[in-house]
């Protein structure tokens, strides 16, 4: 059973049990490699913009988290599905410019999607 807030409920023989894990989305974000910022500094910039635009409370609830992408000039950031729109708006309105190239429900799938993209070509275009 699915709820609007992303929670799921498992139906067991002895009754209902609430599964508290909220759905998340993972984003691959491409940035220009010759920026002076390192990936964690870019993450801080995104967080700063999110807080400015939507407030500290929404930021805490969104649970933004930076992950190791393993690809150069690509950030992996996760957030709660409920706050995905806020996060995408913050990203679009952040300086330096960042572009979302892939979005997925799991890190594993996201990595697979990014691998299938022609990152070398994108990078050469970006730089």
């Amino acid at each position: 059973m699915k709820f609007l807030n992303g929670c799921t409920q498992k139906i067991r023989s002895d009754g209902l049990m609430l599964n508290h894990r909220e759905k998340r989305r993972y984003l691959a974000i491409i940035y220009e490699e010759n920026y002076v910022y390192r990936h964690f500094q870019l993450h801080e910039k995104i967080v700063e913009r999110f807080k400015e635009l939507f407030g500290v409370i929404h930021y805490e609830l969104a649970m933004l988290k930076l992950y190791d992408s393993g690809f150069g000039s690509i950030l992996f950031v996760g957030c709660k599905l409920k706050y995905l729109d806020y996060f995408l708006v913050s990203l679009s309105l952040t300086q330096p410019s960042l572009t979302v190239v892939s979005l997925s429900g799991t890190i594993k799938k996201l990595r697979k999607n990014v691998s299938s993209l022609d990152i070398r070509n994108i990078k050469s275009d970006v730089n």
């Binding site: 400015e52 635009l53 995408l88 679009s92 410019s97 572009t99």
Partner: protein
């Protein structure tokens, strides 16, 4: 790149046209009709109210500028474009005001039969905005993304109906 961003068509400044080949997913933006217009789908774009004339397809507007002048000059079917790149440099308070102005321009377009267009305003590939991000901004302003994409597609089709037929691949 357009495929990655989930965009069907990307508008590119005609100054960069020497680096690209004519393709289905590219529309050239030019300030007047250049000879290359015979090979590409194109839009005549203006960012100055003084140079806005009957053949202008798209007018790039600063959301904070007064709308009185546009009201008198805007003709039916004119595209009114707002660039996201402009808002990136603004502080949070101004971003809030920017969003309010974008909404008012959308309403202006609705009442004057103009086409509201939200663009990335990108000057390089890494400044491009994905379709999903556009939709998030539209939702925040209170515009239905589905309606928006339908209207833009229809507007582009109408604008380029004759030109696309004549465009040579």
């Amino acid at each position: 790149m357009s495929k990655i961003l989930d965009l069907d068509i990307i508008g590119i400044d005609s100054n960069y046209s020497s680096k690209i080949k004519p393709a289905d997913n590219i529309i050239l933006r030019m300030d007047k009709k250049y000879p290359m217009a015979a090979y590409y789908p194109y839009l005549i774009v203006s960012d100055n109210i003084k140079t806005l004339h009957g053949k202008t397809d798209l007018f790039l507007i600063d959301p904070f500028q007064r709308k009185d002048a546009i009201k008198s000059k805007a003709k039916r079917g004119l595209g009114v474009e707002i660039s996201i790149a402009f808002a990136k440099k603004l502080n949070a308070t101004m971003v809030g005001k920017w969003l309010k102005e974008v909404k008012s321009i959308y309403e202006f377009c609705k009442s004057n039969d103009c086409q509201f267009i939200l663009s990335s305003g990108a000057r390089s590939i890494n400044e491009l905005v994905s379709a999903r991000s556009f939709e998030s901004i539209l939702k925040l302003i209170g515009i239905s993304p589905k309606n928006y994409w339908n209207e833009v597609s229809e507007w582009l089709y109408t604008k380029n109906k004759v030109r696309w037929v004549n465009a040579k691949p």
